[in-house]
Amino acid sequence: MAKPKIGFYWCASCGGCEEAVVDLAEDILAVTAAVDIVFWPVAMDYKKADVTSLPDQALTATFINGAIRTSEQEEMARLLRAKSRYLIAFGACAQLGGIPALANEFSREAILSWVYQDAPTVVNPERVRPAVRTDDDGRTLTLPEFRNVVRTLNQVVEVDYYLPGCPPTPKLIKAAVGALLEGKLPPRGTVLAPDVALCEECPRKKTKPQDLHFTAFKRPHLVPLDPELCLLAQGLVCMGPATRGGCGALCPGANMPCTGCFGPTSRVRDQGAKMLSSLTSAMEAKEVPEVEKVLAGIPDPVGTFYRYGLAGSLLRVNTTAAAAASKEAL
């Protein structure tokens, strides 16, 4: 019978997730042997028509990576949803919002005025801005709408499975595709990674003391790091305890603290709040001034605790940004 058709698409993403698929190296041959890749615009010259022409549910599975920022990405997400039996959010951006979602700390207007006017390297005296429709002597050029906020895939369409990671590791991808082919898939909505925190598989696990008390927080680039000792014990903010395992602790293995790209375990609603709670509970300081002094070691709490998860967090967006957006919407 015909090989199952699968598709890849990328929205607000850096292309790293596509890289991860290519990183399957020779294993990709096994994948191509088993399936027909009918839509992969970043790798080959596929056109939107190749998908619209397909009947609904024709694609067995589509892997969408990248968050949703523009109207075009929304449209493609809805299109691929209609055409696929399984829609899989591939990577941290699609699952949680990823690095692009950090933009949700700022209003749409603040972002546009910085990029097109205020940034030091920008010379734009006439304050020209990209427009959705531009008429250029008889031709009309259109651009997709730049949405108020960055959204996760499941804030736009129904998502069946999530492949976490920035990017997801080849091992995870292989396992997911394997499960897909064998039809042995867990219930819809599952995150295809172990539901236990990273510490379980971290090589430095044994060196973490049981009575760790933080007297200061340090930045990774300012401290000579001991390759064996647990990074938290060295005063770094390592998100390992609040992040799913499954990546084989690549970052701690490379002498860098985990930054939480695999997202929270299923029992946690807000990864940032949980890590913040665990970290500050183990601090030594008792009086407010001392506490403030120690917390100053984490200059950007949102960037640290919500590096990948801002769009999927409970607050989702800066309230003033949301207010500005709603004003415009009125």
Binding site: A175, P194, R267, T280, P301, A329
Partner: protein, 172 residues
């Protein structure tokens, strides 16, 4: 802010040993305070998970009040110190997310300070009334209006998935 009949809604997490008892004492003493507060009882202020505060705000609360025993009085020795540290960091996250730090408040109120419960609640309701509604659900809905008809409701990650079958799927 237009003085419509908007009433601020404040969620309070009170520790059972001190602040909840003080609130009971305020009741027994018939002290009057604004009805805008909804008290949730926990065994210690140390049980207040920052997620609870964010959840309350995300669900439409205009302010959150955490009540605990005075430092050194905690029935469990140090629960309130952990609360203090979490609170100081959480305030900074809220500030960065555009939520005024006056909307959430940590107060030490012992079992005998019924009067203080009244004073703190009235003061907080008055300050929130001046700040105006936070109304996160409303703001996010307005923000999502651009999605048109298919605007998704607030997506909550799913819970308690059966991990077992997942394990052999991944590790094969």
């Amino acid at each position: 802010m237009p003085e419509n009949n908007w009433q601020p809604r404040i969620v309070a997490f009170f520790c059972s040993w001190c602040t909840y008892t003080a609130a009971d004492l305020a009741g027994v003493s018939r002290l009057k305070y604004a009805p805008n507060i909804r008290i949730i009882r926990l065994m210690c202020s140390g049980r207040v998970d920052p997620q609870f505060v964010l959840e309350a705000l995300a669900r439409g609360a205009d302010g959150v009040l955490i009540g605990g025993c005075h430092p050194g009085d905690c029935h469990y020795a140090e629960g309130n110190f952990k609360t203090l540290r979490r609170y100081q960091m959480l305030r900074r996250v809220l500030g960065a997310m555009g939520i005024s730090e006056e909307r959430i408040r940590l107060e030490w109120i012992s079992a005998s300070e019924g009067e203080r419960v009244r004073m703190v609640i009235n003061d907080l309701v008055e300050r929130i009334r001046i700040l105006g509604p936070l109304d996160l659900p409303g703001r996010l809905a307005a923000c999502d209006a651009e999605l048109g008809a298919s605007a998704q409701a607030l997506r909550l990650p799913q819970y308690r998935q059966p991990a077992a079958d997942l394990r052999e799927v991944i590790h094969g």
